[in-house]
């Protein structure tokens, strides 16, 4: 009994573990030393910047209300932003379906390489930030909201496709087997046993990505791809903080409203 009362000590670390730990510590110290060496930090500048920060923040709160209903103002541009996100997400949600099936491991059991190729493709699509994709599409179709739609539509395939493939991997496979057993062909199997199961989840994921895309679309204008980002960039460059405040209110309200609505719909879907 008395032996059991002894506090349990962790087993002593072996030499190998100690060396490994030390190497990790050294690695992180060097890593952070390298990071800080690249960044010049001028402490006198920080003191100078504090009153500037105070003035900017108070200016942001002193909202330029007249810019909100103005022609080409916050309301107009927020509608454009939502339109870009809506169209882009829809394009991606549709194009992602074949990619989702391609990347799902249970859709190609005999040839495992197919799904790993599919997953690899989706990863690469996701890699580039939306803004850079937008720049690429501006080269194709010129500046404007259409380039933004295409950028969102392309970039979102990556994440939506990945979520789709996970939904397909998690579904119940017995209806599929039943269809197979009664001699259905592949298309019939997909249509009657796979789609009915995964469709609610697909829609839920597309809505979730739509929420994210509204945020993304609000900065696309900064590279000339339409929406609220364009007036935002001009206001930032011109240090027109009252206008930044008005735009900020627009973004915060719209994003929160869309999150709430879309979240409520998603709860009912799945």
């Amino acid at each position: 009994m008395s032996q059991q009362n002894k506090p349990l000590a962790a087993p002593p670390k072996t030499l190998f573990q100690k060396i490994k730990l030390a190497l990790y510590v050294i690695f992180f110290i060097l890593l952070y030393a390298w990071c800080f060496s690249g960044i010049e930090l001028d402490t006198s500048k920080i003191k100078e910047s504090l009153p500037v920060a105070g003035r900017i923040i108070s200016d942001i709160f002193d909202v330029e209300w007249s810019f909100i209903p103005e022609d080409e103002g916050v309301i107009d541009n927020m509608f454009m932003t939502i339109a870009i996100a809506l169209l882009g997400t829809t394009i991606a949600a549709t194009l992602a379906i074949p990619f989702g099936f391609l990347a799902a491991t249970n859709m190609s059991k005999k040839n495992r390489w197919i799904s790993s190729v599919g997953k690899r493709i989706l990863n690469v699509i996701r890699t580039l930030p939306e803004l850079i994709v937008a720049i690429i599409f501006i080269v194709a179709v010129g500046p404007g909201p259409f380039a933004g739609v295409l950028a969102i539509g392309f970039h979102s395939i990556g994440m939506i496709g990945k979520l789709y493939s996970e939904a397909i991997e998690n579904m119940d496979e017995s209806p599929m087997e039943a269809m197979n057993a009664c001699g259905a062909n592949r298309i019939q199997t997909l249509w009657f046993s796979v789609l009915p199961q995964v469709l609610p989840e697909f829609m839920s994921y597309a809505l979730y990505k739509f929420e994210i895309n509204v945020r993304a679309a609000s900065v696309l204008g900064m590279v000339g791809a339409g929406g609220i980002g364009t007036p935002l960039l001009f206001a930032l460059i011109g240090h027109d903080w009252n206008r930044v405040g008005a735009i900020l209110i627009g973004i915060i309200l719209v994003v929160m409203a869309i999150d709430t609505i879309s979240g409520a719909i998603r709860k009912r879907l799945v």
């Binding site: 910047s49 990863n123 739609v149 973004i251």
Partner: protein, 260 residues
């Protein structure tokens, strides 16, 4: 039996018809609003090919030239994520309903939700005005950005930890600090570290574009190249960013897989 079958009516399709009509109307309005034109896309796609074709033969001198801003991008991402992670620790605890009371949790989450709606580029633009052009503004923007992501993801996993140790700590009369230190932290730490690495991946991407508003990194070079219509340089920067992001994603994902 036949009577019972008769009673079952197919569910009304009215709801779906209305939803469909609203959606269709939204699409028409949106498509007109953004001035969508498939023909323009088909005509313009070769332009992308032309831009990418200019990458061959690759101009290695230019890659060396943009190596420094690329490294700066990574430094910004590392520091931003680190500061964001440190800031997030108290907020995670305050936002978890199994640690603090309803009121505290609701207020904390409201603050978090507002922080997360603000785009990182806007933060960057404001910080550039405050501390001047350069990576320091970028680090501050990434700090707030990663803070929002890490807090949100971690408090959700803190709320699903095993309540057993929590009850045990309460039963032996532990104070709040002991409660957190011995029952919450050991359970939540692996998830927290994994989320920090995930956020780091997101931050590298974000960091690459912060330069568009003057907050340092490769985006600054990209902005200059765009303004001067040097599309060969634009293509090189995009390719380089792609390589670096894939590299960092691969390493970071390996580490995350080991953690959980």
């Amino acid at each position: 039996m036949s009577q019972a079958q008769k009673k079952i009516k197919p569910p009304s399709k009215l709801k779906y018809t209305i939803a469909f009509l609203i959606l269709a109307a939204l699409y028409v309005v949106s498509w007109r609003g953004v001035k969508g034109d498939i023909g323009e896309l088909i005509d313009g796609l070769p332009n992308i090919g032309d831009m990418m074709a200019q990458l061959w033969p690759p101009d290695f001198n230019y890659f060396i030239e943009i190596l420094d801003p690329m490294l700066e991008t990574i430094q910004m991402a590392i520091l931003g994520t680190t500061f964001g992670a440190l800031l997030s620790i108290p907020m995670i605890l305050l936002a978890s309903s199994n640690i603090f009371g309803r009121k505290v949790v609701l207020i904390t989450r409201a603050i978090l939700n507002v922080t997360r709606t603000i785009p990182e580029l806007l933060f960057a633009g404001i910080f550039v005005a405050i501390v001047g052009l350069g990576p320091f503004a970028g680090i501050m923007a990434l700090t707030l950005f990663s803070f929002g992501i890490i807090t949100k993801m971690t408090y959700e996993s803190v709320e699903t930890i095993d309540p057993g140790p929590l009850e045990a700590m309460t039963a032996v009369g532990a104070n709040k600090l002991q409660y957190i230190g011995f029952a919450v932290v050991p359970q939540a730490l692996p998830a927290f570290v994994a989320y920090v690495f995930y956020t780091f991946e997101v931050c590298v991407r974000a960091s690459a574009i912060l330069g568009l508003v003057g907050a340092g990194g490769i985006g600054l070079v990209l902005n200059t190249a765009l303004a001067m219509y040097q599309y060969t340089h634009v293509a090189s920067i995009i390719l380089f960013t792609l390589i670096i992001v894939i590299l960092i994603d691969t390493i970071s994902t390996r580490i995350r897989e080991k953690l959980i």
